[in-house]
Symmetry: C2
Subunit: 235 residues, 2 copies
């Protein structure tokens, strides 16, 4: 575990400056201010291997995570080990902010590394509490946090739009339509393998594969591995 000290930030910054500039939490923060902010927020970096648990259910957390490289799945596992994927966070994305911002006691989800992944943790309380030196950046940080929280709400709502569909076919089409819309292109890559997609849409993998094949037969879509193309205007 590497606690970033003021003097270590410069090295760290060089490596991830391009990522950090994209992180919505640091919106409107200038490049040369970032280093000071990271110190102020007690930022620390940590590395994980594929399938490592970054947070486990019922953990008590006080930090917000930022994906520097790799990606993580926010998942929910039940009693019998059935996994559901709530969402995936790729590089530049913030996760865990809702748990830190509310006075929730125990984490209702787990966060797992999908691959070798580096996470930057920042202390949440220091984001929303105006610091003793009345650091002028905090108002930016709070504004950014409001946006992140609101956007995460919308993201959950969009995901819910897939889950409310009553059958597998509609769930698949709902998801793929969203992906096409995001990519602004009828051809696009999805961030999931088949098992992950099934866990994300909360259906059986083989049943989903079967339905995908039918959709291919009906010339509604084409796919190869993670690359999909929607053919009809059935959105």
């Amino acid at each position: 575990m590497l606690f970033l000290q003021q003097n270590k930030n410069s090295k760290f910054m060089k490596e991830y400056i391009e990522i950090l500039k994209k992180v919505p939490l640091f919106n409107r923060i200038k490049d040369n201010e970032l280093s000071a902010i990271l110190s102020c927020l007690s930022a620390r970096e940590f590395s994980y291997k594929k399938d490592d648990y970054i947070w486990d259910i019922e953990d008590k957390i006080t930090e917000v995570g930022i994906v520097l490289s790799g990606s993580v799945n926010i998942i929910k596992e039940d009693y019998w080990g059935n996994r559901s994927i709530i969402s995936k966070a790729e590089s530049g994305k913030v996760f865990g902010e809702a748990f830190s911002c509310s006075e929730t006691s125990k984490l209702p989800i787990s966060v797992v590394a999908c691959e070798n992944t580096k996470i930057l943790f920042v202390n949440y309380k220091k984001i929303i509490t105006v610091c003793s030196s009345s650091c002028k950046f905090h108002s930016y940080l709070i504004d950014n946090m409001v946006k992140i929280l609101a956007n995460n709400n919308l993201k959950l709502l969009r995901k819910m739009e897939h889950l409310v569909k009553r059958n597998t076919r509609e769930k698949i089409l709902s998801f793929l339509s969203e992906q096409a819309e995001q990519a602004k292109n009828d051809s696009f890559e999805i961030p999931f393998d088949r098992q992950e997609l099934a866990d994300y849409l909360c259906v059986d993998r083989s049943a989903m594969s079967n339905e995908l094949s039918k959709l291919k037969d009906e010339k509604i879509l084409e796919f190869h591995k993670n690359k999909f193309t929607l053919l009809s205007d059935k959105k």
Copy 2:
């Protein structure tokens, strides 16, 4: 439509002061400050009849809603009129904050009055923008908004916990367990009739009724109308 002027607030305040004191948006705001705040936020009250649309899908909104009396369903309807209930907001609850807080263009959901309902609308921009007179309340309002957004995230996650369940029985039990937990009692009332509950859990009403009867036969739960009791420790 009644636009609240400064001088009309006193009358309004008297009627709803008890509700307003509970509204999380006004947390830490003193009773005698509320009137000024409401003016500052261009608060306006509006009445709706059962089944009236308060907001319709693709509306552009600039306000946050607060339920003064009655209740509303946040719903999603598809092409063929299938209704899914995302959530229900009862008196004292804030809704629509995520849409106002993000730069979303068009509303992805609709909001419908479940009964005769009064809504207080407040201008969102005025909540998060420090006003010209540097009104000291805004920092409270922003802090409150962060909490509301974070809690709404958690609420959507909790709802998602029901939807990820792969069959109707598990969805029902997941929902009822949550209700029991909220009520801190194995006996509780749910805010939905059967059709609404089915639309909330995204299952067929008759299939759900059937499953409820089975659960009753198996002595896992009892119910009469909206009053349920969980009998086993199957949570």
